[in-house]
């Protein structure tokens, strides 16, 4: 009997470490990066620099979490960058016309959610492949931003709003705290809610999920709206950080977000992925950029390194799993 329970414990331990392996592997990479950068650059490990790093990572990191949800459901969301831009510009317009911040935020998030709703409708009801559907909304939304703003930057934002990005909460950058809260919420959703479970079930096997009575519509609409709302938040934070409403803000973020999720162990086939993994993926990419810049590495070479890292990380993960 005791031998049996012991065996069970060992098995449990093994399975537990199995599910953590990707994360563990990422932590090791991160530690290596930190050691390399702190020994080669004397400013890297300074508190101020680390804070800048956290600030920069936060916005990418937030987007990566939305993307993780979509990827786990076996979809993809290319419209994230455009939604960031939209939400940022709407916030800036509202604030520059003197509307109160809460209204600006609500309006931005509602419009962001609307983009997610369109994505969900196209993917679920229109049966348009997610890649195409979100590529369409990406293009349309970005063009709308240009039309609204006349492709011009919106300035004259209140100081208090700009201050948000520099503000500290209990000694930590506000942006990071916001990210951290979103991480907690996302982690809770994936581990503890039916919606979270359904994302995995649907991503792993669509037909089995449907025949098991899972509400497929809610799940698909849910992930795309979640992703867009998260990007809406990221857009507001990015505007605070930039100090202006920038029409091109968020351009290209979709690829970084996909990279972060995938480096973090998410599978583009769906059904596989973790919030912690995506977070670590985002931190690794940002650390490489920041550290590389501090070291004065040629930016093209830096991009070569980052591109290779993405592929190598996924290759190693695949090899480990088989």
């Amino acid at each position: 009997m005791s031998v049996n329970t012991q065996k069970k414990d060992i098995n449990r331990l093994r399975l537990f470490s199995g599910s953590l392996k990707t994360e563990l592997f990422l932590v090791i990479i991160l530690i290596i990066l930190f050691v390399v950068f702190s020994t080669t650059s004397d400013v890297f490990f300074k508190f101020d620099n680390l804070k800048t790093l956290l600030r920069q990572t936060s916005i990418y990191g937030i987007v990566a979490i939305g993307m993780l949800f979509v990827i786990t459901s076996s979809g993809i969301d290319l419209s994230v960058g455009s939604v960031i831009g939209l939400s940022g510009v709407i916030t800036a317009i509202c604030l520059s016309r003197g509307l109160p911040l809460p209204i600006a935020i609500i309006l931005s998030l509602v419009l962001s959610a609307a983009v997610g709703l369109v994505n969900g409708a196209l993917v679920h009801d229109g049966k348009v492949p997610p890649f195409i559907a979100t590529m369409g909304t990406m293009t349309v939304v970005r063009a709308l931003i240009m039309l609204i703003t006349g492709a011009k930057m919106i300035s004259g934002l209140p100081k208090a709003f700009k201050g948000l990005a520099q503000m500290n909460v209990i000694g930590l950058p506000f942006l990071f705290v916001a990210w951290f809260i979103i991480i907690l919420i996302a982690w809770f959703i994936t581990k503890k809610t039916v919606f979270g479970r359904n994302i995995f079930a649907y991503g792993s096997n669509k037909e089995a999920a449907r025949l098991s009575g899972i509400n497929v519509r809610t799940t698909i609409y849910g992930v795309y709206i979640f992703s867009s709302v998260i990007c809406g938040i990221a857009g507001i934070l990015l505007t605070a950080r930039l100090g202006n409403g920038v029409p091109t803000a968020g351009d290209g973020y979709e690829l970084d977000a996909i990279a972060a999720a995938v480096v973090g162990g998410a599978s583009l086939d769906g059904g596989e992925g973790s919030v912690i993994g995506a977070v670590l993926g985002a931190i690794i990419m940002a650390t490489l950029r920041q550290g590389g810049t501090l070291l004065g590495i040629n930016s093209f070479i830096l991009e070569i390194i980052i591109g290779s890292l993405i592929v190598i990380a996924v290759l190693l993960d695949k090899m480990r799993k088989h």
């Binding site: 098995n11 399975l15 503890k192 479970r197 096997n205 089995a208 999920a209 025949l211």
Partner: protein, 499 residues
């Protein structure tokens, strides 16, 4: 030149070790020219390991392989093909978007004087071979547009074209209708006459006795014996496979049916079935028999809410039950164990626990928060009850055998506490041992007052299990028979559209 070898393929003392497991131990297998040799055993007995070694997918740990008397080391699938070894799998391995001829000549397209592909020659040669098999398929047609049976025939033709010396058939009839099976057997006879050696793998014991000359029985990676099928009976063979005496495997205790709980009136979906009428009583095992494509699956999917019906009514406990989504059917107490387990039944990449709780998730959720500990308890309970073989419920379902995966699908519905269980082809790809366990589950279910609808294209299974049976032919309801009226011939006639 006189034949200098006795066997087309001779495997001696084949051992295959995987890290931590010995899949095969000193197995011998000899295939004579023109012989149909069955390879039988439960899932996990080592059949597919042997085949994969022959086909160059795995390399053996030790032992010898001779092809036509010459000692060979099979290095890769390509090498196996070059040696004249070929296989027909149940899920056909053809390029779906290319034509029949292009598939025949893949990797060795003939060229004309200008160095371009010589399509004329390809079409001509392909047609010759297909004609010799009495299969009339245009060589230009795209493979994806052919039926599964036709695709299987094309695969065989491709092997003939490559002058295969040994052809392995792995569950070739799993997806075929009776007529198509007959046609396949004819072609196998033709291969025999050409002195091709044949390895035949099937879970259908009857087929083995019908077509095979000898059988090699494997159990737990060890060869039990090689026997002539003439000299033994079906139950001898099954006893050798499972290592114990088998009584009638369909012998389960039936319950006395109660009141009518499901009533179907004039159910119609024009493309699939028309005017279906039947009643199912509480505690009954109701069979739906018909060939693949006769509309059986479509009927239950419409009742369940997975597909929409066009006309007619369904009543559950005398109440109208016209479901338009699976969740409505589930809520009313229906459970569907679908025919295609991997594509419809189960999420392979998720754990046993997650799959078990997929339907009844509300039972372990409070205020929107899932209690994972409770979920694991539930999964653990059904793992024990159904004797699912897995170290823990955290195990990913993809690492389980077919029979154990099926048990996970069933536990999903047991956890929900459904009343009417619809089993669509519950034992495809499931070995004899697990089959009997699934039938035992049937017995437990009806004892607990549940009702079962079983769809099968495997006649002995429906005859053995059902209290009553509805027979379908091309979307039409042919008849409903009582258990006393079950006769193979009568049922097959009805299922072929003859009154």
């Amino acid at each position: 030149m006189p034949v200098q070898y006795e066997n087309v393929v001779e495997m001696k003392g084949i051992t295959k070790e995987f890290p931590g497991v010995k899949a095969l131990t000193e197995v011998d297998l000899e295939i004579r020219p023109g012989e149909v040799h069955a390879l039988v055993g439960e899932n996990g007995a080592g059949k597919s390991t042997i085949i994969k070694i022959l086909m160059g997918v795995y390399t053996k740990s030790s032992g010898q392989i001779r092809v036509e008397g010459r000692k060979v080391e099979i290095k890769s699938p390509l090498h196996a093909q070059e040696l004249g070894l070929g296989a027909v799998y149940q899920d056909v391995n053809l390029a779906q978007h290319l034509s029949v001829a292009e598939n025949f000549f893949m990797g060795q397209m003939p060229k004309n004087k200008l160095g371009m592909i010589d399509y004329q020659r390809m079409y001509l040669e392909t047609k010759e071979i297909m004609d010799s098999m009495e299969i009339h398929v245009d060589p230009r047609i795209i493979v994806g547009s052919l039926s599964v049976a036709q695709q299987e025939m094309v695969t065989i033709g491709k092997m003939l074209h490559r002058k295969a010396k040994l052809v392995i058939f792995d569950e070739p009839t799993a997806l075929l209708t009776n007529d198509e099976t007959e046609q396949l057997f004819k072609i196998i006879h033709m291969l025999k006459e050409k002195n091709v050696g044949i390895i035949y793998i099937s879970h259908r014991i009857e087929e083995i006795f019908h077509i095979c000359d000898r059988a090699t029985v494997l159990k737990d990676g060890v060869k039990v014996d090689t026997v002539c099928t003439r000299d033994i009976t079906e139950s001898d063979l099954i006893s050798m496979m499972v290592g114990r005496d088998v009584a009638d495997m369909y012998e389960i205790e039936h319950e006395k049916p109660g009141e009518v709980i499901l009533k179907v009136e004039n159910l119609t979906r024009k493309e699939a079935f028309k005017n279906i009428n039947f009643e199912v009583k509480k505690g009954e095992i109701f069979g739906l028999f018909g060939l693949v494509g006769s509309g059986r699956t479509e009927i239950v999917r419409s009742i369940f809410g997975a597909d929409l019906k066009e006309e007619g009514n369904v009543y559950l406990y005398d109440e109208k039950a016209d479901f338009t989504s699976p969740s409505q059917g589930i809520h009313a107490g229906l459970a569907l164990i679908p025919e295609n387990r991997k594509e419809q039944g189960i999420a392979l990449g998720l754990s046993i626990a997650t799959n078990t709780n997929m339907v009844a998730i509300d039972k372990i959720t409070r205020f929107g928060v899932i209690n994972n500990k409770k979920g694991i308890e539930v999964a653990e309970k059904f793992r024990e009850k159904l004797r699912t073989k897995a170290p823990t419920v955290h195990q990913l379902v993809k690492n389980l055998s077919g029979g154990n995966q099926q048990k996970v699908v069933i536990s999903k519905w047991l956890a929900k506490g459904s009343d009417i269980f619809i089993f669509d082809e519950p034992t495809t790809g499931v070995d004899v041992g697990a089959k009997m366990e699934i039938y035992k589950i049937f017995e437990t279910l009806i004892k607990e007052g549940k009702t079962i609808i079983i769809i099968s294209s495997y006649l002995p299974e429906v005859i053995g299990l059902a209290d009553r049976m509805l027979i379908m032919y091309e979307g039409r309801q042919m008849s409903i028979l009582q258990r006393e009226e079950f006769q193979d011939e009568k049922i097959l006639r009805l299922a072929s559209g003859i009154q």
